[in-house]
């Protein structure tokens, strides 16, 4: 295992110490239970946004704490969702009396832990709403299964709902907006390599030199299918088609296109994929009016990418454009 770390069991704590040292103007870090909050939290009268999940997806979520995005993030161990006490304490730390929105990625662990935390927080008189993001078209949705995973749309939901909360919109509206983003966002990802969970010490799966995994999530797990390696044009098509043929995309639509690195894929390749994506969408009469390109929701050092498309309207576009000032995403401030 080749990583810039000390002891595997200390990675998350030392990462948090790094974040704390680097961004005191933006965030504060609490240890035991671990959570990151806005430096100016709680903001009276503002709906607070709390998210969280396993570590290993950086900058998500801790890097998205700050003005215009999250009020708090709860980092779990690597690829392991955080615990209810982290979420409860974070919720209490950021509640400014207007209620708290939990943005939860649809994984059994995340959902159950956030459920427990929400029950406990409500027990302490805090108004909590939860929205579960489930945008991964690689996974068949069904009543009888755990349903779709939450992936790329989470980043977009946190940005957009963060902007709405900044406008002092009430909890029910911000939660509704989050559901709208989820309903209009779809993603799919692929991997060229596996990644190594520090405490596990070996790659989660093995891939041949001419193989790739299509339909992966963000936890270093194998995908829906193993395939022969293909050129970027073909990979882009295989990711894009299941997305655009899913519910919300049609000719004439304007979309936000998010081309994400899984961690080990450099920017030069993301732009090659973006070029393909742009071509594929033009052919279908879908217009990219906003984009995000880079490593924003990652799986440690995994090589690969995901594509997320979010159907935009004026409201979503305006909220996307609103200022944001976090360690991981920043503009207009």
């Amino acid at each position: 295992m080749k990583k810039l770390i000390n002891r595997p069991e200390d990675v998350v704590t030392e990462e948090l110490r790094g974040i704390e040292a680097a961004h005191p103007d933006l965030v504060r870090v609490n240890y035991g239970p671990n959570y990151i909050v806005r430096a100016d939290a709680p903001l009276q009268g503002k709906v607070a946004l709390v998210s969280g999940g396993g570590s290993g997806h950086e900058p998500m979520h801790g890097g998205f704490v700050g003005m215009g995005m999250l009020d708090a993030a709860c980092p779990g161990e690597v690829f392991t969702s955080p615990t209810p006490d982290q979420m409860l304490e974070a919720t209490k730390a950021v509640d400014g009396g207007a209620g708290v929105l939990h943005i939860v990625k649809n994984y059994t662990g995340d959902v159950m832990n956030f459920d427990m935390a929400a029950e406990l927080a409500r027990g302490e008189g805090i108004d909590v709403e939860s929205v579960v993001i489930d945008d991964d078209v690689a996974v068949q949705d069904s009543l009888y299964t755990a349903g779709r995973r939450g992936v790329g749309t989470t980043v977009l939901a946190e940005k957009i709902c963060g902007a709405a909360a900044e406008e002092r919109r009430p909890l029910a509206e911000v939660a509704e907006l989050c559901r709208k983003v989820n309903a209009n966002g779809r993603s799919m990802g692929m991997a060229l390599t596996s990644c190594t969970v520090p405490a596990a010490g070996a790659p989660t799966f093995e891939l041949g030199d001419d193989e790739m995994e299509i339909g992966i999530g963000i936890h270093g797990e194998p995908g829906r299918e193993r395939r022969k390696l293909a050129p970027a044009a073909e990979i882009s098509r295989e990711l894009t088609e299941p997305i655009v043929s899913d519910v919300p995309f049609a000719e004439g639509d304007e979309v936000l296109a998010f081309v994400n690195s899984m961690g080990g894929t450099p920017l030069i390749e993301l732009y090659v994929v973006y070029n393909e994506l742009n071509r594929l969408l033009s052919e279908r009469g879908i217009r990219i009016t906003r984009n995000l390109i880079g490593p924003y929701i990652t799986s440690l050092e995994m090589a690969g990418c995901s594509i997320t498309l979010l159907k935009l309207d004026d409201e979503l576009t305006r909220l996307w454009d609103a200022p944001v000032k976090t360690p991981g995403l920043r503009w207009g401030a």
Binding site: V139, T145, V197, E221, P222
Partner: protein, 224 residues
Amino acid sequence: MHDGVTVSYDDVLRWIQTFAATMAEQRQYLTRLDSAIGDADHGINMDRGMQAALAKVDGLADGDIGALLKTVGMALVSTVGGAGGPLYGTLFLQMGMATTNKSELGPDDWRAALDAGLQGVQMRGKAEPGDKTMVDALTPARDALSAAVADGASFDEALRRSAAAAEDGMQATIPLVARKGRASYLGERSAGHQDPGATSSYLLLRTAADTWGGAAAPTDKEES
């Protein structure tokens, strides 16, 4: 238990300690199982949680088995995370609720505790038998235990039968296509792999049979 044999607070404590040791030993094995159809952390998670539980139960000394089990449950909830944390946390919390204020457990108490724990797991996780989860080990274990108790089997015998049933249930997860948990994302590719949570649940019941079988059997023999 028909012959009056029970497990004491100390037996339950030894079970917890042995299970913690087993999770430490099987950490890599469980994590490898989780690599195949999950995210390579189940052994790491369970080991971390049981180490935390050990530290918590060390302070307790009041002989209340219910309190002991609830303490384990709380420790798991607040240190494991993932799916394992709430599920195993709930399992122990519910077992603790079912044994509140008890200082010893007979076979029927243990059956009731396991039943409550399993119900808690299903309430939290919404998994049915056949979904390829820990429920597939716990359900046959609970059923075998109930049957053994109804048959009038010894505690030792009942424990052995429930562990054997858990083992069968665990093995039966191999061909299944997962419908719950992370493995469900793999669809058909999840078939052919043993479920890590079912494996840790089997180990939980195997540890009970080994620890208490050894503890209860001599007493049993002495009294018979």
